[in-house]
């Protein structure tokens, strides 16, 4: 049978607030267990939540960025269930009246086609703590530092039809939230986590098949692989005439398989109801308009501007605008260098090689945008040539200083004095008299092939410092005698 896969995603983005959603505790990652907690986060008796202004602003920004309806009245609801890392026995979330309603965004697929994906809703909720399963006297340890950290849960329509589309969607969400500066996008630290709803149906069938939900996948690569293995698992069952069980599953990257997480008997009844400790959030149109007016440039707009302003190709503009950090880096390099195309080539080429080799993000680059720009300035003004510049970049990467310092210290400045170049070329020709004889005896085609040899010898003699643009005409003149 020919199966069509249907995928919908729930993405939890941790909002980059200083303090928690409902308390004045810090949200910093990696603190000692239970040190970033207040009585609110610990669910102490009599503790009450007070809502963080910044979390609201961030949620509204996201809504604007995905062309969504904004919930002018939104309500916090309690989702009731027992779990040791859920201190109050309920999660404060939103149910009937989310802060962000229906919206959409466009993703670009590998073949260049653009696909629109619907956003069902996005709502604010608090995160739970962490259960540490290392052996503490055969028990589990509970760390509530993450408890009450603000999350924006972004729910998509079941609009994706392949793992590639799903990944493109997650990357677009990642790019939007980081552009907006409302989430650091650090998936390894759990700042963005993904629940994948996935089902199969025979091609052409209207109604959806039974879906499973793969919980908490936290890298682009795992999202893609989890979807592939789950498609395979479901297809095997369906091909054998079996039925899919609606359930929650967990992706195990080590075994590259998904496994069932909770049995059906434990299916929870969350007993949602409006949280009586919090009041409805009422927004004014002025508030929403003001946020809309101050929205930063988003990835799609930035890519378009890179194409028109810097004359970059669609591909280059897409790569350089993929993350806000990358885009900011590139623009800084371009500004310092005064040549955007050169900047684009170096950021996507040489610099990316170093980053990839060391597995670093652009934000962790050993060479700052200003430094790289400074290097490109020296190519532009003929102080060094491209080949030398690569060597200089390596020294810069190793922390030997700015381009100018390295050029100076290593004496890499190009020779641009015509007389000096001429005498150096003459020296090379004198040392290779036989080849010069041969050259002069050859026809024009043969000569063209031989010129490269002399050029190489000259560059070697100049230790790469001769300006190739100046060498070529002088060399031609002297060779012809």
């Amino acid at each position: 049978m020919n199966w069509e896969v249907v995928i919908g995603l729930e993405i939890h983005a941790q909002l980059s607030t200083q303090s928690k959603l409902f308390s004045g505790a810090a949200t910093s990652f990696g603190a000692e267990p239970n040190t970033n907690t207040t009585l609110v986060d610990l669910g102490m008796p009599g503790a009450l939540p007070v809502f963080n202004k910044e979390a609201l602003r961030m949620a509204v920004m996201f809504g604007q960025a995905v062309n969504a309806e904004i919930g002018m009245t939104s309500v916090f609801a309690r989702k009731n269930y027992f779990y040791p890392d859920l201190p109050k026995g309920y999660q404060t979330s939103q149910m009937d009246h989310p802060i962000v309603g229906k919206g959409h965004l466009d993703i670009t697929l590998d073949d260049g086609t653009v696909k629109r994906v619907g956003i069902t809703r996005a709502h604010l909720e608090e995160d739970a703590g962490k259960s540490l399963h290392e052996d503490f006297q055969g028990m589990t340890g509970i760390d509530l530092n993450r408890s009450s950290t603000p999350l924006l849960e972004i729910v998509s329509e079941p609009d994706m039809r392949s793992a590639k589309e799903a990944v493109a969607y997650v990357k677009m969400i990642h790019s939007i939230v980081t552009y907006l500066g409302i989430c650091d996008g650090n998936m390894a630290e759990g700042s963005m986590r993904c629940d994948i709803n996935i089902s199969l149906r025979p091609k052409g069938q209207e109604e959806f098949g039974t879906r499973t939900e793969i919980k908490n996948v936290n890298s682009f690569r795992f999202i893609e692989r989890a979807i592939y293995t789950e498609i395979e698992r479901q297809a095997d069952i369906l091909e054998d005439g079996g039925k899919i069980t609606q359930e929650t599953r967990l992706y195990d990257p080590d075994k590259d398989e998904t496994r069932s997480m909770r049995s059906k008997e434990d299916a929870n009844d969350y007993r949602y109801f409006p949280c009586p400790d919090l009041l409805p959030i009422e927004l004014t149109q002025e508030y929403v308009n003001e946020i809309a007016a101050n929205l930063p440039e988003l990835p799609v707009q930035k890519a378009e501007r890179f194409m028109s302003e810097y004359k970059l190709s669609e591909y280059d503009a897409g790569v350089l605008s993929a993350t806000r950090a990358m885009a900011d880096y590139f623009e800084e390099v371009a500004k310092v260098a005064g040549n955007a195309k050169l900047a684009a080539n170096w950021v996507m080429g040489e610099l990316s090689k170093y980053l990839n080799t060391e597995g670093k993000e652009i934000t962790e680059s050993s060479v700052t945008a200003e430094q790289l720009g400074g290097l490109l300035v020296r190519i532009e003004d003929n102080t060094i040539n491209g080949k030398t510049a690569k060597n200089v970049l390596q020294s810069m990467w190793e922390g030997e200083g700015s381009a100018d310092q390295i050029i100076e210290a290593k004496g890499l400045k190009q020779v641009t004095d015509t007389g000096a170049i001429e005498s150096m070329i003459q020296g090379v020709l004198d040392a290779n008299a036989a080849q010069v004889e041969q050259f002069r005896a050859s026809d024009e085609d043969k000569q063209k092939k031989m010129i490269g040899f002399f050029m190489g010898q000259v560059m070697k003699a100049s230790q790469g410092k001769a300006n190739p643009g100046m060498v070529t005409p002088i060399l031609n003149k002297l060779l012809k005698g």
């Binding site: 009599g46 809502f51 109801f273």
Partner: protein, 486 residues
């Protein structure tokens, strides 16, 4: 000593007729002498009280104008008190010592009040008789065979017996007013949001409200002055400015329109209680008030609406008591589920478990609309009844409870009968308006409370109305013989 008001004690403290330390010692001695019979305190904080009294004496000597400075009071044991055992009268919190202070107790400390201890109550404030306490039932000082009412029964009994000058209580469905009525003292449930709920262990968040329980309306005013007002730690606490609650106590009542809801005087109201209430209303007419019959047509629905909303909120509010971070954990749990179920099953009393289950059911899938949402719609109808009534009248009066205090154990076998007794108090919490109970007479030797209900944030008016009545009558000065004899 039991007749002394906060204002007169404050004068004596400033005149150096008595020191706060002496006053505190007197009260601690009375507690030792009498509370064995009443069981009104769960914890008596002798040392802390004496240290606070000493500090209060210094404060007064240095010219403090706070009326509450040096006055020995008690707190219902559901206010978290920093470093002092706070149990909610539950085995679940038998060992819980909060490292933080509730806003109510914190503000009273800041006013210089002296904390004698923490008073007994129905477990987690669920009950109308104070029989649902892990620490045993509280006795009514007027008759030791009768209940003091609940859930703030310990506070009411302690105030009535002179085991503190005044006390704090909380009222979710009548828990300040009904015990005040049963014990012959004055109690005020403020407007929802008038007093911060921070640090107050929640029963039903949208109904709970803290308030004063004291010997007179004037004393209630002094305490309200200290505890009322905006608190950034409670999202539901109102930003409406507070008033000077003692400034207008003496304002004349000429022209005051009193509404008497006919539903408060129908079947089920004990005849003797009805007579007391009617006599009290006549007293107000003598003071120049006019009386108007009104109707609160949805009154009967307040019982079902309340018994859905309160347990629903409670079922969720009490989920945090899970044996993980504080409180009771069962012995040797065999796994996580066993720890949850036995800690909660053994830690909570029967009434609490029952209400948790009612709420769990009402919120569960398939029943939410028929129970919870329906109850919330009825809640709006009940509120609208009051809004309409207050277009026509200034205050509403009626009984607090259909009867006087009943016998201990008399209703434990029929909890529904006990729920029905809340008929005159529940609607006030559902609407969120303020209401008082003040002593208005006796029926069969037991005190009867008159309930005075006011419009939103009309606490000053309620206190004024109650105070004028107390100037014209002496019901609030009557003492149980147990207290007189001591």
């Amino acid at each position: 000593m039991v007749d002394q008001s906060i204002a007169s004690l404050a004068k004596k403290l400033r005149a150096k007729e008595i020191s706060s330390v002496e006053l505190t010692q007197d009260y601690l001695a009375r507690i030792k002498q009498l509370d064995g019979q009443l069981n009104s305190y769960i914890t008596v904080t002798d040392e802390i009280a004496l240290a606070q009294a000493e500090a209060a004496d210094k404060l007064i000597a240095s010219g403090s104008t706070s009326t509450l400075a040096g006055i020995p009071i008690a707190h219902k044991d559901l206010f978290c008190t920093d470093g002092i055992l706070t149990t909610c009268a539950s085995k679940m919190l038998h060992n819980f010592v909060p490292p933080y202070e509730s806003t109510v107790t914190g503000r009273m400390l800041a006013s210089g009040a002296v904390t004698l201890g923490k008073t007994n109550m129905d477990e987690f404030a669920m009950g109308s008789s104070n029989e649902n306490s892990h620490y045993g039932a509280v006795k009514n000082p007027w008759n030791l065979d009768k209940v003091p009412g609940g859930s703030s029964g310990g506070s009411a009994a302690a105030v009535a017996a002179g085991l503190c000058v005044a006390a704090t209580g909380t009222d979710t469905g009548g828990s300040i007013r009904q015990p005040a009525s049963f014990c012959g003292i004055s109690g005020l449930k403020p407007t929802y949001g008038r007093v911060s709920r921070f640090g107050m262990i929640a029963y039903a968040s949208s109904l709970d409200q803290a308030g004063p329980m004291a010997r007179s309306a004037e004393d209630c005013a002094h305490i309200l002055q200290s505890i009322a007002g905006f608190d950034a730690s409670d999202s539901t606490c109102s930003e409406v400015a507070t008033e000077d609650y003692t400034a207008n106590l003496e304002a004349p009542l000429e022209g005051l329109t009193i509404g008497l809801p006919k539903e408060y005087f129908g079947d089920g109201l004990n005849n003797d209680v009805a007579t007391v209430i009617q006599d009290a209303v006549k007293e107000f007419e003598k003071l120049g008030a006019k009386v108007k019959e009104i109707s609160l047509p949805n009154l009967n629905l307040s019982i079902p609406s309340y018994y859905v909303i309160a347990p629903s909120e409670a079922s969720s509010n009490l989920s945090r008591f899970d044996g993980v971070r504080y409180g009771y954990r069962c012995e040797d749990p065999k796994d996580l589920m066993d720890m949850y179920k036995r800690s909660r099953g053994e830690g909570f009393g029967k009434e609490v478990q029952k209400r948790i289950m009612v709420g769990t059911y009402a919120l569960s899938e398939g029943y939410y609309d028929a129970y919870y949402l329906k109850a919330q719609r009825i809640r709006r109808l009940i509120k609208e009844d009051f809004v309409k009534a207050f277009d026509e009248v200034d205050v509403i009066m009626g009984p607090v409870a259909p009867t006087t205090a009943f016998g201990i154990g008399a209703k434990t076998d029929d909890p529904i009968a006990m729920y029905l007794e809340d008929i005159y108090t529940l609607s006030i919490n559902l609407a969120g308006i303020p209401a008082m109970s003040i002593p208005a007479g006796f029926a069969e030797g037991m005190p009867v409370g008159l309930q005075i209900m006011g419009n939103y944030f009309a606490e000053a008016k309620l206190l004024n109305v109650a105070h004028k009545f107390q100037q014209a009558t002496d019901w609030h000065t009557k003492n149980p013989s147990l207290a007189e004899g001591a």
